[in-house]
Symmetry: C2
Subunit: 352 residues, 2 copies
DNA sequence: AAGAACGATTTGAACGCTCCAATGACCGTT
DNA sequence: AACGGTCATTGGAGCGTTCAAATCGTTCTT
């Protein structure tokens, strides 16, 4: 049988097209009695609005773009995948959909924005992996494209909404946990200074080390490129110190697993002999029993979409529907929404 | 500045709407001289066709649906993510996009198809994780929705296109590799009989064990639910046999890593003392140095989209464009496309 | 030389929806 | 009885595109 349209539903319910449309989009405008009749017709004909037609008219596609990463680091890459999964689930619950695209770098990503937007496919974007002087956010902001980022603007004069997880709090919690377990010589194995996320995570450890008066010796603060090999080498150097640390807090699970590998290679047991705590709670961490700081990715995804909703609502020329209850009327908020900073959770396993 | 439309481009090039449309969709219909003029206007105004408008008219959205899994098994879950990543990249190259959705089970997945299709959002689907009597493929086939699956129909009278990786070949190669290394007592650690993928992978081992006349003792063929704990327990049982195997081929990296854990716990070195080979080449396998059978996921994704293209082309009521060269004219192929079975690749690491 | 056939281009209509302005019904007030 | 006002509903227009048919000029056929 042919597809049901507004027209056919209208005929079936003996009303006009527009009344059916209203029954769906603005039920408060239509008489209760008519409403039930229209609704009956809708379900009887199994009608669903035609997405493309609606998009053409309203210029809203309910599609949100997100970038899926080209298989980068094997260990930490899964963070994005989990985020995407949550994003999809929450978007679905909101009647939106996630559209994937890939890009090799920020530059290319921008040109994809161009493609995706000029076809008017997408309402908005969710970005991740923001960094200082991010050309992507600049590009989007300049064109007034709605978007939110998972990740802080990091120093840029970010005037956009963002959601992030407090990395410093994570490493602080990890360090505090080790202190509570009796450790006094706790090292930090992170990335070279200059990476925003890395510096943030380092600061949590440094803060608590200072506050708790820990014994921080030279060589207790390493900065190497992310990876298993580099992590292992850096851990080896720490263990070879005259007074080696008894615990290592790491900026990533990659580094932590490198350290973990070095420990077991030396016959040392992670946790019992030297404690190691990673970051991101990768599956590998769970497998080998590595303690790690877990990011609340599901909450982050939900927050991103909630924020995006606000941004789109504010942006909407005609204002939202009455039933949306988007704050006090006439509030006329024009600035970016309030950022959301979530707390990570320390997952304690055998290694610390 | 306002968005460019066919109309504005047409005015700019002093031709009609339709000629511009033809310049884009059927260049052979338009005079070369006019063509260059139109193309100049297009690039000058930075015109891009409006996706929704085109979809409304042509009933083709260039959108392909794919399901993203709710975080299931941690170790093997990444296979899907890598597949999705490749799918996105190849779709992008074809001018298509991947739209994500989630579902808890097959039943729910079908009702999502309903939603996604009735809004005419999607042209087709790429399914994965097929099994015998898969209600999803039945649902889609019945409604003549274009789709392909990554995974065989497994016994169902599947009349749809599919792409899969030859699991038996993978375990056969793994076993052969161990035989070449001098092993004679090679066990198989897999899932309980009845799972199609599991039985397939078991058969590769069994085939070669028979052909090479290996010493297969009772207890050398285990079937347990996937997981680290179960894998570890099953491996322990094997190692406790009077005559334990010298190598274990596993149906998954989860199981293999379970075995790997048991080995190291006993002070045995994987590879040197007892060889272990996993399946799926997870990141964890790479990290700990576990040999594993890698699926050519990128090739699989490319094959899926190529096949989908054929299906959509065949389906198209009016036939493709002349420049598409889709086989001999009048071939009138109506059946499903030829399936594609890809060969996996054994990645040898320290463990075997 | 008239008609047929072709190539290049144009015009009108339609896809299904929502916006906008307008209509009629009903109420209470003058 | 005529007037403004609210509520419920309606018809027309238009979003940007492609399809189908029509137009016009040119060349091939008989």
């Amino acid at each position: 049988m042919a597809r049901a349209t507004l027209e056919s539903v209208a005929r079936h319910a003996a009303v006009s097209r527009q009344t059916v449309s209203n029954a769906l989009n603005a039920p408060h405008l239509v008489h209760p009695e008519t409403l039930t009749r229209v609704r009956a017709a809708i379900s009887e004909l199994n009608y669903r609005p035609h997405h493309a037609a609606r998009t053409l008219r309203t210029r809203r596609s309910q599609l949100v773009g997100a970038r899926i990463e080209p298989w980068r680091d094997g260990v930490n890459g899964a963070v994005l995948d989990r985020f995407l999964q949550s994003l999809t689930a929450h978007a679905q619950a909101r009647g939106q959909r996630i559209l994937l695209f890939t890009a090799e770098d920020d530059e290319q990503e921008c040109s994809h924005y161009e493609d995706l937007l000029s076809g008017l496919d997408l309402d908005a974007f969710v970005l991740h992996g923001t960094h200082a002087d991010d050309r992507r956010t600049a590009w989007l902001a300049q064109r007034r494209v709605p978007f939110v980022t998972f990740g802080r603007p990091w120093g840029s004069t970010g005037t956009h909404g963002w959601v992030d997880v407090d990395g410093a709090e994570g490493t602080r919690a990890a360090t505090a946990h080790l202190v509570a377990a009796g450790h006094r010589r706790i090292a930090f194995l992170g990335w070279p200074e200059g990476s925003e996320v890395g510096d943030d995570r380092r600061s949590g450890w440094a803060d608590l080390a200072l506050a708790a008066g820990l014994e921080v010796r030279p060589g207790y603060d390493a900065g190497v490129a992310d990876g298993l090999g580099t992590g292992r080498a850096a851990a080896a150097a720490m263990l070879d110190l005259d007074v080696p640390p008894t615990a290592i807090v790491c900026a990533s699970d990659s580094l932590a697993l490198g350290a973990w590998t070095e420990l077991t290679a030396r016959g040392l047991r992670p946790g019992a002999d030297v404690a190691v705590i990673g970051f991101d709670d990768s599956t590998t961490a769970a497998v080998v029993g590595l303690s790690s700081v877990a990011q609340p990715l599901d909450d982050a995804a939900a927050a991103c979409l909630r924020m995006l909703h606000d941004v789109l609502e504010t942006d909407r020329p005609r204002g939202g529907r009455p039933d949306d209850a988007d704050g006090p009327p006439g509030s006329g908020r024009t600035g970016p929404p309030d950022p959301v900073l979530l707390s990570p959770r320390l997952v304690v396993r055998a290694s610390g």
